[in-house]
C-alpha cells in the first residue's frame, strides 16, 4: 500500500462544488494524506519543515488544483518555491524526492476540446503543465500524465458524482496497484 500525499490548493474552496465533490471522495481513504494549503497557510507563510516531512513519507504526490490563467493558484507556486529547496529536493545532496511519483489533478472550466490543437487554447493541457513536469524531473521524480476534469462550467450534478467516483478509484489504484504504469502523456493513455 503506497502512501499518497494530496497537496490541495484552492483559494475559494467553499465556492467550488466540483472540487468539494472531488475532495470529499478521497478525504477518508486510508494512507491518503490531504494537505489543504489555503487552510493551512492563509498568510502564505508555508512551513517548509512540515511540508518536507509530509513529502518524505509519501510515495505518490498529487498537486490538486484548479487551472487559473493556464497555471496553478499562487499559494501552490509559493509552496513549490519554498518547499523544494536546493540541497533537499534538487542540487547536490537534494535526493529526498528521488523516485517518487508526482502528477497534477486539475479542474478546468474549458473542455477537453478547448485544450487541443484545434481548440481555443491551441495546446493540449500537458503543454501548459510543462513547468510542473520539469520541476518533477529536476527533483528526479517520475512525472505522470495529469488527471484532468474539464468543462466544470457546464458539469451536471450526475456527471459530477461519476467524476468524483473516478477520482476516488484513480487514487485507490495509485495506492494499491503493484506497479504504477501511467504514461507521461494523456495521448498515449487514450490510444
Amino acid at each position: 500500500m503506497r502512501r499518497i500525499l494530496v497537496i490541495f490548493a484552492h483559494p475559494k474552496f467553499e465556492h467550488s462544488e466540483v472540487n468539494q465533490a472531488l475532495i470529499n471522495s478521497i478525504s477518508n481513504l486510508e494512507n491518503v494524506e490531504l494537505r489543504d494549503l489555503y487552510e493551512l497557510y492563509p498568510d502564505f507563510n508555508v512551513s517548509i519543515q512540515a511540508e518536507q516531512e509530509a513529502l518524505f513519507q509519501a510515495e505518490v504526490i498529487i498537486w490538486h488544483h484548479p487551472i487559473y490563467w493556464y497555471s496553478c493558484p499562487p499559494l501552490l507556486k509559493q509552496w513549490i518555491d519554498l518547499v523544494l529547496e536546493f540541497g533537499w529536493a534538487y542540487g547536490p545532496g537534494g535526493t529526498y524526492l528521488k523516485g517518487k511519483s508526482v502528477l497534477n489533478v486539475i479542474t478546468s472550466g474549458g473542455s477537453d476540446h478547448a485544450y487541443s490543437k484545434e481548440g481555443r487554447n491551441q495546446h493540449p493541457i500537458e503543454d501548459f503543465l510543462l513547468p510542473f513536469e520539469h520541476t518533477a524531473k529536476l527533483c528526479l521524480m517520475n512525472y505522470l500524465a495529469p488527471f484532468h476534469i474539464s468543462g466544470t462550467h457546464r458539469i451536471s450534478a450526475s456527471e459530477l458524482v461519476l467524476k468524483a467516483e473516478s477520482y476516488k478509484d484513480f487514487v485507490t489504484q495509485l495506492r494499491d496497484s503493484d506497479a504504477i504504469n501511467r504514461p507521461l502523456r494523456l495521448q498515449t493513455l487514450r490510444s
Binding site: K12, E14, P42, T152, H153, R154
Partner: protein, 628 residues
C-alpha cells in the same frame, strides 16, 4: 561693576556677544569664550581688574573639565575603553615621554636648572582636554579616527597628571623649606608616610568603583521614584562633586576620578538622564573656564617680553605638532587627518596651570618663570584654535581632494541606534523584542525605576528618562536616529512628544501608539501620520479566529480581516470630519453614541462588502451558459 550679580552680567554678556560671533565666523565656541575673556580682561575693557581674579575664576570653573570627563566616561563603557587601550598606552605614552624629553633637553641646553626644566617639560607635554574635546564634539568628530586618536592621547595625559603631581615634590631643590602645602591639590594625606598615601590612593579608586557599581544606581533609583526632577539633577551633581572631592583628598586628579565613575555608570539605566542633566552645567562651567583663561593672559608681560613669550609659544606649538605628526604617521593617518590631529593637540593644557601653581608653591619655579609659562600656556590655548580654523578653512580643502578610504575602517566608540523606543511596558517590550529578534537594536527609555530595574535583570538595556524632554532625547541619540516610537499608554504624553519632535527633530519619523479612535483623532489633527490603535489588530485577529471556528475558510477570513482593517483605518479619515460637530455641552457619553452612529452611517456609505467576486466562477458560468 562689582558683586556677584554684576560679575555674572559681565561674563554672560561677553559670552553672548563673542560666542555667536565666533561661531558665525566659523570658529568654535572655545575661541569665542577665550576672546570674550580677553575682552573683559584687565587689558581691554578692564572689567576684571587683575589676573588673580581671573585665576580664581579659573580654579573655580576647572570643575567644568571634571564634569566633561564624567560625561565622556558615560559615553564609553568599559568594553569600548578596552578596545582603545592600545591607542591610549602606545600613542599617548609616546607623546608624553617624547615631548617631555625634548623640552627637557632644550631646557638643559638653555642652562635652566634640571629640576625646573623637568617640571616645565612635564607640564608642557600636556594638551588641553577642554579645548580639544569641546571642538571635536562641536564638529561631531568624536567617533572618527581623529576623535579617537585625540581622545587616547588626552586620556593618557589625564592619567599622567597623577605621577607628575607625585614627582614634583621630589624635585624640590635641597635647602628650600616648604612652609605650607595648603595647595588645592594636596589634602589630608600629606602628613602620612608614603606607603599609607599609596594605600589611600588605591582605596579611593576602589571606593569610586564600588560606589559606581553598587552605590549610585540605588541612589538614583531612590531619587527617581520621588519624580522630582531637580532632586535628580542634584544627585547627579552630588556624584560628580563627591568624586572630585574624594580624589582631591588623596591628591589624585578629580577629572580622572570623574572619568572613571562615568565609565562605570556608562552601562547604567540613568546614563542618558545623567547626561542631559549635567550637560548645561558642564557647558556653562567650561565656558566660564575658557573666559577665565582668556582674562588671565598677561598682556603687559607679553608686551614687555614679546620676543621670549612668542618664541616660546610658537616653539612649543611647533615642537608638539611635529611629535604628534610623527606619531600620526606611525599610526598611518592620512595627511589631512594627521595635520588636524597634530595641530589640534599642539597647545599646552589647563592642567598645566595646576602644575605651575604647585611647582611655584614647592619653590621649583620662581614667580617670573611661572608668569611666563602661564602667559605661554594661555597664548598657546588661544592660538591653537585659531590655527585649527585657518587649517580647516584654507589647507584642508586643498588636501581633501585626494580621497582616503582608510578612515572608514575604524569601528565606532559608541554606536547610536536608528530607533528610539519610549515606554517599555507590555506594548513596548513586545515591540522591542520583535525588533531585537529582527536584529534591530533600539535605544529604550522608560520612566518607571522599578520596571527598569526588573528589565535590566532580564537583559534589556533600558534607560531612565522622560522622553518629552528635548535634551534627554538628544542624548539618547535623537539627532542621529531615524525613527522614534512612542509605546506609552498616555496620549497627552504622546502629543507632547509629537510636538517636541516636530520642533526639534523634524527628521524623525514618529510612530505612536494610540488608545482608541478618539486619541487617534487628536494625534491626526496634530499632523501625526503613523498612528497605531492598540486594540485594533488584536480584536480583528480574535474575530478571524471566531469566523474560522464557525467553519469559514482560513484564507477567506484572512483576506476579510485585512480588508476590514484597511476599511477601518480609512474610515477614520472620513469620520474625523464629524468629530467636532458636537456642541460643547454634550456629555462625553452622548458624544460616544453619536460617534458610533456616524461610524455606522459611514459603514453604510462605504458599503463594506463581505462578498467579492474574486475566484467566483458563477459569473463565468452564466456567461458560458448564455453562449450556448
Amino acid at each position: 561693576m562689582n558683586g556677584f550679580l554684576g560679575n555674572a552680567i559681565i561674563y554672560i554678556l561677553a559670552a553672548i556677544v563673542c560666542v555667536p560671533l565666533a561661531k558665525r565666523l566659523g570658529m568654535g565656541s572655545v575661541l569665542g569664550y577665550l576672546l570674550a575673556g580677553i575682552l573683559i580682561g584687565p587689558y581691554l575693557l578692564g572689567f576684571i581688574t587683575n589676573e588673580d581674579q581671573g585665576q580664581d575664576m579659573m580654579h573655580a570653573t576647572e570643575f567644568g573639565v571634571v564634569m566633561m570627563l564624567f560625561l565622556i566616561g558615560l559615553e564609553l563603557d568599559p568594553k569600548n575603553l578596552w578596545k582603545i587601550r592600545d591607542l591610549i598606552v602606545r600613542i599617548g605614552l609616546s607623546q608624553m615621554l617624547v615631548t617631555a624629553a625634548l623640552v627637557f633637553g632644550i631646557g638643559i641646553l638653555l642652562h635652566i636648572q634640571w629640576q625646573t626644566a623637568l617640571a616645565i617639560s612635564l607640564s608642557m607635554a600636556l594638551s588641553s582636554t577642554a579645548i580639544v574635546l569641546q571642538s571635536l564634539k562641536e564638529r561631531n568628530q568624536m567617533n572618527s579616527q581623529l576623535g579617537k586618536m585625540s581622545f587616547g592621547v588626552l586620556l593618557m595625559q589625564d592619567i599622567a597628571v597623577i605621577p607628575i603631581l607625585a614627582i614634583l615634590p621630589l624635585l624640590v631643590p635641597t635647602n628650600t623649606e616648604i612652609t605650607s602645602t595648603s595647595g588645592q591639590m594636596h589634602g589630608l594625606l600629606d602628613n602620612l608616610p608614603g606607603w599609607a598615601q599609596t594605600v589611600s590612593i588605591f582605596g579611593a579608586i576602589a571606593i569610586v568603583i564600588v560606589l559606581g557599581r553598587y552605590g549610585f544606581g540605588p541612589l538614583l533609583n531612590f531619587v527617581a521614584k520621588t519624580r522630582l526632577r531637580e532632586l535628580f539633577t542634584a544627585s547627579a551633581l552630588l556624584i560628580v562633586v563627591g568624586i572630585a572631592y574624594l580624589m582631591e583628598l588623596v591628591g589624585l586628579s578629580p577629572a580622572l576620578g570623574a572619568f572613571l565613575a562615568g565609565v562605570i555608570l556608562a552601562n547604567s539605566p540613568y546614563r542618558h538622564a545623567l547626561e542631559s542633566d549635567l550637560e548645561p552645567f558642564k557647558g556653562l562651567l567650561l565656558g566660564l573656564f575658557f573666559m577665565a583663561v582668556g582674562s588671565t593672559i598677561n598682556f603687559s608681560l607679553i608686551y614687555n617680553e614679546a620676543g621670549t613669550v612668542f618664541s616660546l609659544t610658537l616653539g612649543i606649538l611647533l615642537l608638539k605638532t611635529i611629535i604628534l605628526l610623527v606619531l600620526g604617521k606611525i599610526k598611518k593617518l592620512s595627511l589631512s587627518t594627521n595635520l588636524s590631529f597634530a595641530i589640534g593637540l599642539s597647545q599646552v593644557g589647563e592642567f598645566s596651570f595646576v602644575t605651575y601653581a604647585f611647582a611655584q608653591q614647592l619653590g621649583i619655579f620662581s614667580q617670573s618663570i611661572s608668569d611666563t609659562l602661564m602667559a605661554v600656556t594661555a597664548l598657546s590655548m588661544t592660538i591653537s584654535p585659531i590655527l585649527m580654523v585657518v587649517f580647516d578653512k584654507f589647507i584642508l580643502s586643498l588636501l581633501t581632494k585626494i580621497p582616503d578610504s582608510k578612515e572608514q575602517n575604524m569601528d565606532n566608540i559608541s554606536e547610536k541606534n536608528k530607533v528610539i523606543l519610549i515606554g517599555f511596558g507590555h506594548f513596548g517590550s513586545t515591540l522591542g523584542r520583535f525588533l531585537r529578534a529582527s536584529g534591530v537594536e533600539a535605544t529604550i527609555l522608560d520612566s518607571d525605576p522599578d520596571r527598569i530595574d526588573y528589565l535590566r535583570k532580564m537583559g534589556f538595556k533600558v534607560y531612565f528618562g522622560d522622553g518629552t524632554r528635548g535634551e534627554l532625547l538628544e542624548s539618547a541619540g535623537a539627532g542621529e536616529a531615524s525613527i522614534l516610537i512612542s509605546a506609552i499608554d498616555n496620549t497627552e504624553y504622546s502629543m507632547r512628544l509629537v510636538e517636541l519632535c516636530r520642533k526639534e527633530f523634524p527628521h524623525l519619523e514618529v510612530m505612536i501608539r494610540a488608545k482608541n479612535r478618539f486619541d487617534a483623532f487628536e494625534l491626526m489633527e496634530m499632523g501625526a501620520t503613523n498612528i497605531y490603535r492598540e486594540h485594533l489588530d488584536t480584536s480583528i485577529k480574535m474575530g478571524e479566529d471566531v469566523l474560522k471556528k464557525l467553519g469559514f475558510r482560513a484564507y477567506t477570513v484572512h483576506r476579510l480581516a485585512k480588508q476590514f482593517h484597511d476599511y477601518d483605518e480609512a474610515s477614520l479619515k472620513v469620520l474625523i470630519k464629524y468629530k467636532n460637530n458636537q456642541a460643547e455641552y454634550i456629555s462625553k457619553t452622548r458624544q460616544q453614541i453619536e460617534m458610533q452612529e456616524a461610524l455606522l452611517s459611514g459603514e453604510m456609505m462605504r458599503k463594506f462588502s463581505v462578498n467579492d467576486h474574486t475566484w467566483d466562477s458563477d459569473t463565468i458560468k452564466e456567461a458560458a451558459q448564455s453562449e450556448k
